[in-house]
Subunit: 489 residues, 2 copies
């Protein structure tokens, strides 16, 4: 398993301890001053090149598969943002900010309050990360959707924009965040930054700057003001501060773009300059990741969506359990025992045998396999406090036996279910559902969305909302989506 | 000259090139993972210790000299914030944010607009840094006043607070920002961070959290949310983005405190934890700077105020010129020539012989000495475009001869003025006015204030405003200061 694989698999639900990452977290002698002085001509700097690309890129230039993946990212984002909207985290944020918000310019997903666009973007960005169930750009572990879409959706309610232009801005925002992330990953992440908020802020600035019609010079300044406002440390994982980060990055990006629109200046090369963002915040800088293949290679195509509300390391086992359950119409009472052969990390990170609260369930491969067999799902509901205390679930999880097998890769699992009637069912998973190799289908994304919206929006409204997401490109005004995502009075 | 001296003297007006700092900017092998695991008990961590100190510290505990210096910092802050309030930078920021601001809770210094407290704190924080004429904690080059006071003053307009409590919060905010700065300076600054915004945000959070009456636990969270929102890179110096940094740090600090007040959580030890702020953002961490001597040693006492609106490196020459001018009632037409023996840095940084615009005048020891001899001052007016083109000034600056003398320290100057009548006037400056050793007098602070407010507030209002600052401890409500600092309708 490479270091990169390790990082991805460690990436998990609410609160995986990242202590095991320490070995790779050592900062080495910095390139801050060893960076070739290079002094590229103004027009060649990464900041300027990226700014000009974003300003000039047209919807018509987007390949069909990119438009499609951007639309899937949108649908997934809306689902998770609605799903998190009634958490205690959001209740507290709304209580704190309500008295200070500006005009009711943009709705809070799943709720009735309306805030000014920056405060709304903050709340809707936080919402999307509550369950750690949002999209993931696996190359960098950035969750681009929450930052970028929270920002452009709030702005779209204030300043009307066609669905086509909206989708274009969304894709450009993801492109900006992920390319800048690529340039500094993994060193930047290893040292302690929550890259979703530190690289994400550029995506929010670029996407909203695009919708505001910034000139190239203004876009350079917007990126500079974004560089001045990185958000988030990994140390905050396990607290409400984790979800804070994409939300604040969304708001900061809008703040940067609005100032730049009024010609509030920044420096020319804030990303790549000697004392700029990348040199200050990371010991690795590869600016080709930012500038090469713009308009031909799209990071949006590498975005993935989690099918299960827990760390990726257990996803293969859940996938196997659901497949065998569905194919054989299994019920819990038929099952004698479940044997798993797993990569060592599965036990290291998710070996909790008797979880007591929902959050602990996310760190139990035993609980996860049990709920997958019983419910055919592993969403937020399957990780509630009630779920981990359910007698039937407890009885089944006690029948799950996991054995370490170093020959099994981290993205794999080997599962054998022995039934009471003596039959043995076997499944080997090479890549779990939700990976780049085996992406979630549109129908699976819809099922995830419906599950998240259940209890928050009426079923019919949820269906309408999904429909609007799918046909974003045909909408005359993208704010129809935001309008359909709020609770009705 | 030590590296530290060098840094301080490099610290300058609007746009000193910091390129010469490069030699000291190299990041060395990080302590991020070499940090002793230590795992102090919860109550011993720097974040918790600092939070408990801030929550429990009372106005009555402040020594008289600390109250006095806090009051001087307040007066200086109000002056520079009023002075910068009609700059193009502020006009653009106000135009950008006006449509999104919340209720008119707090005034913009020197202006008529009222914004919600976070947007007002942003603008008033930016204002204070426009001329780079604000206070300086020389140990760290932090400008604590702009960040901390912009935040507490805006909050004081929303939530009434006595002058005593206001001053206490102000001092605690400075304490917090500067102590955290001490813990990571100089490595943190050298690598590229604008420490005023990265350490300052903690000061704004602590000071506003104090006024909000946070519990210790909430204060820990406020500091954690502040740690997640560092602001500013040195690369932005020379653009409007520099002034942006203290303003945004002020707003971010309030944002953190408001959320914490609603029990929006963060981690326990965001400053000192292994993956916390100090390890992520710096290669040096000395937590004793944060925790030792709380309540007995005050960073506020180390705050200084610039008498002249230019880089500190020219201050000795200006000081000498003004002293000789005033003592001898000199006029420009009496002067035959002016000879200076100066430290090499004076020529390196401010050797511009024929400045064409006001900003260039700040990098000309010749222009600076000329205006000091003519006007007895070197404030913003003496660095206007008009001032550098004034024929009398040009004639006199051409008579100034500066010679490098390595025996002269950076904080010194040796000046000899030869008069047309043959007399020679001599002055050797050991420490210029405005240093810790030779602080500005209250009267000098008032003169600076009056000069900054001139043309923005009526003279009588400026006098009233100064009076309110001096007697802050007797005010029943601190918002009287803010109310007196805005333009009348």
């Amino acid at each position: 398993m490479t270091q990169d694989d390790r990082r991805r698999f460690l990436k998990s639900g609410a609160a995986v301890s990242l202590a095991v990452l320490s070995a790779s977290g050592t900062r080495i002698a910095s390139a801050a001053d060893a960076v070739p002085p290079a002094a590229p001509a103004k027009s060649e700097g990464a900041t300027r090149t990226l700014a000009e690309y974003v300003v000039n890129a047209r919807y018509e230039d987007l390949p069909a598969n990119v438009r499609k993946e951007g639309t899937r990212t949108l649908l997934n984002y809306v689902g998770v943002a609605v799903g998190g909207s009634h958490s205690e985290t959001i209740d507290r944020a709304v209580a704190a900010l309500g008295p200070f918000s500006g005009p009711p310019q943009a709705g809070l997903f799943g709720r009735r309050e309306r805030f000014d666009i920056m405060n709304a973007a903050f709340v809707n960005g936080v919402s999307s990360h509550i369950f750690d169930f949002d999209d993931t750009h696996l190359k960098t572990i950035i969750h681009p959707g929450g930052v970028v879409i929270a920002a452009v959706m709030a702005l779209a309610e204030y300043k009307p924009v066609s669905g086509k232009d909206f989708l274009n801005a969304l894709v450009l925002g993801i492109e900006t965040a992920c390319r800048i992330g690529n340039a500094v990953y993994p060193n930047h992440y290893d040292v302690g930054w929550h890259i979703t908020g530190t690289a994400g802020v550029f995506g929010a600035a670029a996407a909203t700057g695009k919708l505001l019609g910034l000139t190239s010079q203004q876009m350079v300044w917007a990126l500079g003001l974004a560089a001045s406002q990185p958000v988030g440390l990994r140390e905050s994982f396990g607290s409400m501060n984790k979800s804070f980060n994409p939300g604040r990055a969304a708001a900061n990006g809008i703040f940067a773009a609005l100032l730049a629109q009024q010609n509030y200046t920044s420096s020319e090369g804030m990303i790549e300059a000697k004392r700029g963002w990348a040199n200050t915040i990371s010991t690795k800088q590869d600016y080709r990741e930012i500038t090469e293949g713009l308009g031909t290679r799209y990071e949006a195509l590498l975005n993935t969506y989690k099918p299960f509300a827990c760390g990726i390391v257990i996803h293969p086992a859940i996938d196997a359990a659901i497949q065998l359950r569905n194919e054989n119409k299994l019920t819990a009472d038929q099952i004698e025992r479940v044997d798993l052969r797993v990569h060592p990390l599965v036990i290291e990170l998710t070996g909790k045998k008797t979880p007591q609260i929902g959050l602990e369930g996310k760190f139990s491969v035993y609980h996860s396999v049990a709920v997958a067999l019983i419910d055919g799902a592993a969403g937020e509901k399957q990780y509630s406090d009630k779920a981990v205390r359910d007698p039937q679930t407890i009885a089944l999880r006690d029948k799950v036996v996991a054995t370490i097998d170093p020959a099994v890769k981290a993205e794999q699992v080997d599962m054998t279910i022995t039934l009471k009637d003596g039959r043995k069912l076997h499944r080997f998973i090479t890549h779990a559902i939700g990976s780049v190799e085996v992406p979630m289908s549109d129908a699976q994304l819809e099922a995830k969305f419906a599950d998240l919206a259940d209890g928050i929006l009426p079923k019919e409204q949820a269906r309408t909302l999904m429909g609007l997401c799918w046909k974003v490109e045909q909408l005359s005004s993208a704010d129809q989506i935001a309008k359909a995502a709020v609770a009705r009075a």
